[in-house]
């Protein structure tokens, strides 16, 4: 089996166990890429993870960076497709199922039951990010607090707080 196919297969399997997204699958990704397949060492894995965090977009794209490291552009394409397609096919099926069951009186309440779980996990993700930023000193917590209230209590464009945080970071950390 060629390397690119191996990458495709590895990330396709990871895709199907990634309930909760990238952070949920990171330990297994590490086990597959570093321990089982030996495609990279520990330090490289960590650096690539940091690299992926510097880009916007869904965190799951950490897979793309890993694929790049293993086999260049074709590796990136294989990892990205492997990570996205199986999950997307399931989501497609779920949407179809919800559509077919749309008349069922229990569907809306059942869907509603998933809402607090989803919001709770979003809240946890935000708190985890805030905790990570705290390692750079106290001022990031101020940015977190201002940003939280800004987004929670107003409808203004959050780009302002992102830009403000970036400028403050550049000034204070230089």
């Amino acid at each position: 089996m060629t390397l690119v196919l191996q990458i495709l297969l590895t990330f396709s399997i990871l895709s199907l166990v990634a309930v909760g997204g990238a952070n949920a699958v990171l330990p297994e990704m590490h086990r597959q890429l570093v321990e089982l397949r030996g495609w990279m060492d520990d330090a490289t894995f960590s650096q690539l993870y940091a690299l992926a965090q510097a880009a916007p977009g869904p965190n799951i794209l950490v897979a793309s960076v890993m694929g790049w490291q293993v086999a260049g552009v074709s590796g990136m394409a294989a990892a990205t497709l492997g990570m996205l397609v199986p999950a997307a096919v399931l989501a497609w099926g779920m949407a179809g199922l919800a559509w077919r069951l749309r008349g069922a009186p229990w569907l809306k309440p059942a869907q509603g039951g998933l809402v607090p779980v989803a919001i709770g996990l979003i809240l946890a993700a935000g708190l985890t990010m805030a905790q990570a930023s705290y390692s750079h000193g106290l001022w990031p917590l101020l940015v977190v607090a201002v940003s939280t209230i800004f987004v929670w209590r107003t409808d203004y464009n959050p780009l302002w707080v992102l830009a403000g945080g970036g400028v403050l970071g550049a000034v204070l950390l230089q």
Partner: protein, 226 residues
């Protein structure tokens, strides 16, 4: 062909935007928004792509906050509750919840083309930026010296994500038991660092059961709903 495509909605067979409202009217208990929200818009395929392009491009530190902002507040494709429900379904599936939601929302409005366009829009800009970062990393063996700026942006993004969770909680007017589930999920993930699949497997059935009971569909507790 063109006329046929026009007469029939491009998305699900027989789908037209109003059923969003109609289905909510059929379940008043799931639609606590008494003051009617501004009218929803039905995105064109191009609007789906560009809306998701923005979500991907601005989504530093994760896209959950921007996805809700663009879809619910700016473009008004879905109500707060509809979006939350799609996100909830995306949460129990493998893969990023916002990515799964993109597939479902794309399909809802424009079928397969919509799902592909929304997904392509979501990942396009981040992938281009990642390729640039990878090239830089290959050449210089380190990340560009943007770390201080990124740390500041990350702190802002963290607050944005927390603020989004609080905003959704407030607007959806969750029941007491739903709030308890929300806090349990957050504590399990943030404080105890339990694996997310485990949290979903443990809490989703409980939460669904509570929700069905509220709607009078479980345990014969019809009176409990009102």
């Amino acid at each position: 062909m063109r006329a046929g495509a026009k007469g029939r909605p491009a998305g699900e067979p027989g789908f037209s935007p109003p059923p969003i409202r109609a289905s909510m009217a059929a379940h008043p208990e799931t639609c606590p928004l008494s003051d009617a929200p501004p009218a929803l818009t039905h995105p064109t395929p191009g609007a789906l792509f560009f809306g998701y392009l923005k979500i991907g491009l601005f989504g530093f530190g994760g896209v959950a906050a921007w996805a809700r902002r663009v879809i619910v507040e700016e473009r008004r494709w879905l109500t707060e509750r509809d979006y939350a429900e799609i996100l909830g379904m995306g949460q129990i599936l493998p893969g990023p919840n916002v990515g799964n939601a993109a597939v479902m929302i794309g399909r809802r409005f424009h079928g397969l083309a919509g799902a592909l366009l929304a997904t392509a829009g979501l990942y396009f800009a981040p992938l281009i930026i990642l390729i640039g970062l990878c090239l830089f990393y290959d050449r210089y063996g380190q990340l560009p010296a943007v770390a201080p700026v990124m740390n500041g942006i990350a702190a802002g993004a963290a607050g944005m994500v927390i603020g989004t969770a609080l905003k959704m909680t407030g607007k959806l007017k969750l029941s007491v038991e739903a709030l308890a589930v929300l806090l349990l999920a957050a504590i399990a993930a943030f404080v105890f660092r339990l694996p997310l699949p485990l949290i979903v497997v443990l809490l989703a059935p409980v939460s669904i059961a509570f929700s069905l009971w509220r709607a009078g569909l479980l345990g014969g507790a019809k009176g409990a709903a009102r």
